[in-house]
Structures are given as C-alpha cells and as structure tokens.
Symmetry: C2
Subunit: 420 residues, 2 copies
C-alpha cells in the first residue's frame, strides 16, 4: 500500500514537471510527436498484435464476454484506424495559446483571455487499445501531461503501446513524463492517484457506472464524467411520421450498445394510434423488444408491460421502453424525471414545439428531426473525443481538445495603476 | 439535525423547481425584477438601516473587529452603490440562450452550442450586505435559482434584503424559489446543503480559508472557489524602474486587505542595488514593513529577515516579502513554488521576457506593466463578479454572468440518420 502511494506520487510528480515543460513546447513539436507515434505504430504492428494476443488468451481463459473480447482485439483495420486518428488529431488547430477574446479597457489595458492546458490528466478507461492512443494524443495535443490507467485485461497491449508513445516522445524531445502508464493491475492504485488533487488537475473516468461512482466519490480533484445514457425520442403530433419511424429505428438499432442510442420512445397521444403499430413493426423486424405503458400495450399487443424501473434503465441492447404522453409538455416532464441528461430528440414539423423542447430539455444535446446517434465529437465537428460528459460544469457533451483546456487572463499595460 | 436536513431539502427542491421555470422566463422579465428590486431598496432604506443597526449592535457586543464591523455596515452610500450595481447588471447582455458557436456539418445538420444556466447555485458568503444583493442579481440574471447563506453577523440585514428580493419576485412573476435565504445561523445547515449534489448544481463559498477548505471537502457538487491571493510583482532588469516603483506601491498599498493586492516583490539581481533602496523608501513612506531575503536585507537595512513561511503568507496588510532573484526564469520558479495562482505582474520593457512570463506563469491573471489590483470583473469588462476563482476548472479569475452558465448542444436536422 505504501509502495502504491509512493508509485502514484512519483508518476504524478513527473507528470506535473512534464506539464510545466510542455507549456514551452510549441504545437509543431507536439504534432511531430503525433506523426512519429503513427509511424511507430505501423512499424511495430507485429509486436503490438503479439502483445494483444497475450491479452486475448488471458481474456478467454477468464471467460470474458464476446463483446468485451471484441473491444479488446487489435486487428489490422483497427491499427489503421488508430493511425488515421493520430493524423486527424495532428491536423486539428492547436488549442494552446488561442486568444479566446480580447477587450481594450477605457484605461488602455488590453485584456485577453488565452487558452491554456488544464495541466495533468488522470485518465481511467476500459480495455480498448485504441482508446489508449486516442487519449494520449488528445491530452498531449492540448498541452497536458497524461497518466493512463487502462483496464487490466489490456495490460500487455497497453505496455506495448506505451513503449511506442514514449519512444516517439524521446525522439521528438517531449518530456518523459508527458505520457505515463500505470503499470500495475492492482485496483488500489486508482485510489492513490485520486488522492493527489494538488498534482493532478482533472480525472476522467470511463467505464461502468460503479467505477465512475467510486471515482466521483473519492477524487480530490475535478472530474469529467459520464453516467447513464438514457436517451429519448419524442414523436410529436406534428411529426412527419415516416421521418419519425426512420429516426426511431436509427436511434435504437444503428448501434444499440453505445451511450447515445435511444432507450425510450415517447409518443404524442394524438398520433399514437397511427404511429405505434407502425413503429412496432419496424422495430420488431430489427429484433427489438418493446416494453410499453398500458396504452402502448393496448395498441401493440406484442409489447411487454413496462415497469417504472424500465424507464430508468440503460438497456444498451435491442430493447426499448415506450410511453404514450399527452403532449410536448408531458414529454419534457418525463425526460426531466427519467432522463440522464445525455441526448434527447424530438420529431416535429412545428416550430414553436421544437423551440420549447430545445429550451426546456436540460441535456447535453437536444436533436430536432435527427437521430440521437449524432451526439458525438466527430459528428459535431470537434474532431476526436475523449468522452461525452453528462455533467453541466466545465464540459458538457462530447469532450475534445477544447474541453481539455482552461484559460488565463493575460493583461498588457503601460504602467496603469488602480489609484489612477 | 433531522429538521435541518428537511429544511435544506425543502429549499433545494424549491430552488430546483424554480430553476426549471426560470428557463421559460425571458431576459426582459428578469431585468424588470432587477429594476424593481432597486426601487424597493430605495423605498425601504430606513427598514434596511434599522435591521442593519440590530446586526451592528450584536456585532459590537460580540467584539467583532473594526474592519469586520465596517464591512457589515450599510451606509446610504453603500445602499446607493447597491442600486447602481443592480442597474448595471440589468444593462448587461442576457447570457441565457446566446449561441456561442454554430457549425453546419457536411450532412446538413446545424450544430449550435447554446448558453444555459447552471441551474441551482448555493452561495456561502461573508457578512457584507451588498454581496447579498450582488449575488442574487448575478444568479437570477444568468437564469439560475440561488440559495443564499450569508454570515451570521448579517442575519437581520439579510432577512430585510431577502424580503425585498422576494417582494420584487412576487410583483414581477418570478417563481418564489428563485431566491431563497438560509434563515438559520446554525452552522450545521451548510453541511446539509453540501450533501444535496443531486439538487444543487454548484456551490460558491466565499470567506476564510478554513471555511473554503471545509466546503471543498464536504461538497457533493462542483464548487467555484478562491483560496489564497499570494500575488507577486517581478521587476525585471529591463524594467522602467520609475514605472516599477509606482506599480509595486499601487499593487501593495492601494487596498492592502484584498486578494489581488501584492504580497511578494521579486527583484532581478541586475537592478536590485539601484531599485531596492528606492522602492523600500516609497513603501516605508506608506507604512509598509519589508521582510527580505539576505540580499534584500543587505541593501535595505531597515528590512526584517524573511523566513520561508513569509513567502507563503497572504498578509492582507501593510507587509511585503521581498526576494532578489537571478532572472525571469528564477522569478517564474519562485512563483510556481510559492504562488497561489491568483495574480502575478511583471514590469519589463523586453518583449521576449514578457512573452516568457505570460506563457510560463500559471495564474488566473498575468499582468505586464500594470498593477495586480486590476484582476477584477469590473476592470476586465465582465461587469459585476461573484468572486475570483483560483481553480483551473470551468471558471478561472473573475466570475461574472458567463461563469454562472454552461451550454448545451442544440442540433437541427431534416431527418438525418447515422445509418445514412
């Protein structure tokens, strides 16, 4: 335990020192590091797949689920996608040093707000090797030092990836503490890092809800987090019902296992009788199970009866909760009560109804006549993302480079005094 | 204790309900409330001064310091200043609903980032009646509901001010939970509010360091906080020494009891022999005690010897720590080691030196050739401020209306699907 405490302190101290040095390294040099990392990934493809193979063997022995093994697997396509991601991140504008706004005061002071890195990021994530590279790239591109804590199932893959990140840093003159890996599978290590609020500026946990709740409870620094994605689609009386059918199917079925997939369908009572049998047919054709309110079950006899807990459930699967509501106000009330603040969509042709939905729904993204699946850094034009925040503080929705920064005021004068 | 828990829950629930309703109330109506509050302050001047008189009597009985009693006192000048502040806040642009940026995606989706209130603010503050009004005004102007917890010494003044805020809300159709006062001096109440992270979106503590540390430790929601203001002025070898002299005197003496006053003077070794005797004379003429490093004491015999702890002390008084440093790099290292991330100033005529100082000093505000005293919402053009954040997350430096908001993504489509 003392060893872990010392280990965490050493890594965090090195990260803080590196973060100070990163401030003086310009964006071109950080981009060179990204490019060199991409080259080394290609050159070391076989080393990486061998390391990954070791993780996969252990994972099968430990009876990991097929979906988890699939996420863990490093295929040549995925390696190529990692290289592309690095190149895309390198091509994004440098956020560091951007003058966000400026303002000349009546006394002649030039007040500027300048974008700066947060400092040191502690990133906890699931066993997906591509996330290791994406996170390191986003953090260093935005001028931060990062401490990576990947899932234990990916430890061999992560060690091999880390060697590449560090080798590229060495070659490109980046400080050695810019990217570090927590090289132990001991779960207690996380707690030791969470205690270091004076050295680590932000913790970003990704993974299951219990992990995130534990991190939120124990962290002594700010965190950017993502709880449930209980996303809703509301089909208003003024909807184009064919558009509504396609948006609901896309929101639920295009990739049901992700956070921005729809989990609940709300249907305006005025169109329920027409729409519900139709959408039920389309969803059932895709293998989706409907869990409905009594009115839904009356109109769709194949639907199961929904319990209240179903409306609070993130299925991440081919299941959807369905409820008939009186109007847009009732839909908003339902979302306020049962939603998780992630993504909600309305399908309507009525301007005032859409305006009201956009104003009163308090979620990271509100979609009008579009699939919930678009709440994503790439789709919004942010470039790659390190996660989607369901918080309302600092960063909300997709978190890209900008969300890994803060700002400071830089003020230029010519001898101005407060006393005049 | 159970009563306090229930009390906190009731207020926070009312605030949350009000915050939902505030979203549908436009900026004109919120401005009307500000104007009506200003009118009622004038109309009820004598009621307010009577209530304040009761606080002042108790304060003298309890032996409050002269400075604390001065802050507590509600004079007619201060009442007039409160009215002016309300009018100025009303005149600021409405932050709610501002489209911060927008972006049309290749698939035709219009992605906008829209400014929204944080929701419910729990504001803990010292016994200064003008802060009660400023805070309520800033929170409601930015669309938030606020729960005010003022210092116990101001309880009668705050009750009288609260009556006015609520009467204006009633007249202007604002929800009754928009502004609430914690009407108990029981210190345990604060803990009950800090536990309500699911209802309160942010806590802003103002006051002594121990209070803020306690709030930071106990809060289950994000906080915007301000620790020490250990502000530095560095006089570089390339400084105009007469400008430097005036900036140091202004930074230290213009109002020594506030957070952006200078506490430490760093002098480049190359100019120490010329500058130190000169600045010592000017500071001592203002009654300032110098605590210096050995080199300072050699050049200024009247200076006391500084211990290391002095360089970590926020004097808030006519005392200044002085250290001779080798160059700008050593100044930056000193600030990194001893500073509190609040405000640092450099006096120099050298462009590269100023660029380096601005880049490498990690503080909420960095001043070039200007007094530290300018780190202030009013001076920066933000309008009134609710505090100055020394955090690097969400809000840094002066916190005005914008810092009391977050954003959401509002996306308009015409039936776009992820599956194409």
């Amino acid at each position: 335990m003392d060893d872990l405490k010392q280990y965490a302190l050493t890594l965090a101290t090195q990260a803080r020192q590196a973060s100070r040095r990163l401030g003086g390294i310009d964006g071109g040099q950080r981009n060179t590091w990204l490019a060199r990392t991409a080259e080394l990934l290609v050159e070391n493809g076989s080393v990486l797949t061998e390391a990954n193979e070791r993780d996969l063997v252990v994972a099968s022995e430990n009876g990991l689920s097929g979906a988890a093994i699939d996420r863990l697997r490093l295929t040549s396509d995925r390696l190529a996608a990692m290289v592309t991601a690095l190149q895309e991140i390198a091509a994004l504008p440098d956020p560091v040093g951007e003058v966000i706004e400026s303002n000349v005061r009546p006394n002649g002071l030039l007040v500027t707000r300048v974008r700066v890195p947060l400092g040191v990021v502690f990133f906890i994530f699931e066993s997906r090797p591509n996330v290791t590279i994406d996170a390191a790239a986003l953090c260093v591109k935005s001028g931060n030092a990062v401490i990576l804590r990947g899932g234990k199932e990916a430890i061999h893959s992560n060690r091999a990836l880390y060697e590449i990140l560090v080798e590229a840093a060495r070659e490109c003159g980046l400080p050695s503490g810019a990217v570090q890996l927590v090289d132990t599978v001991d779960r207690a290590a996380v707690g030791e890092f969470l205690a270091l609020g004076s050295l680590i500026d932000v913790t970003i946990p990704r993974g299951g809800k219990s992990l995130i709740e534990r991190v939120a409870a124990d962290a002594t620094m700010p965190i950017i987090k993502h709880f449930d994605g209980i996303c809703h689609v509301f089909v208003d009386r003024a909807a184009d019902l064919e558009m509504a059918r396609r948006i609901v199917v896309d929101s639920k079925c295009q990739r049901p296992g992700v956070c921005n997939a729809a989990e609940t369908l709300l249907v305006d009572r005025e169109v329920a009788e027409t729409f519900l049998p139709e959408i039920a047919g389309s969803l059932e054709a895709e293998g989706v199970l409907l869990k409905g309110c009594p009115e839904t079950c009356r109109l769709v006899p194949s639907a199961e009866e929904a319990r209240e807990v179903d409306f609070r459930t993130e299925y991440l699967d081919l299941v959807i909760s369905v409820r008939v509501v009186d109007d847009v106000a009732a839909a908003i009330d339902h979302i306020d009560e049962f939603g998780s603040g992630h993504t909600e969509a309305i399908v309507t042709a009525d301007l005032e109804t859409s305006r009201r939905f956009c104003r009163d729904v308090d979620s990271s993204a509100v979609m009008v006549n579009a699939s919930t699946r678009f709440n994503d850094g790439g789709e919004f034009g942010l470039g790659a993302e390190i996660g989607i925040s369901t918080d309302k503080f600092h960063a909300r929705g997709p978190c890209g480079l900008r969300e890994l920064t803060c700002y400071k005021y830089v003020v230029h004068g010519a001898g101005q005094l407060k006393s005049g």
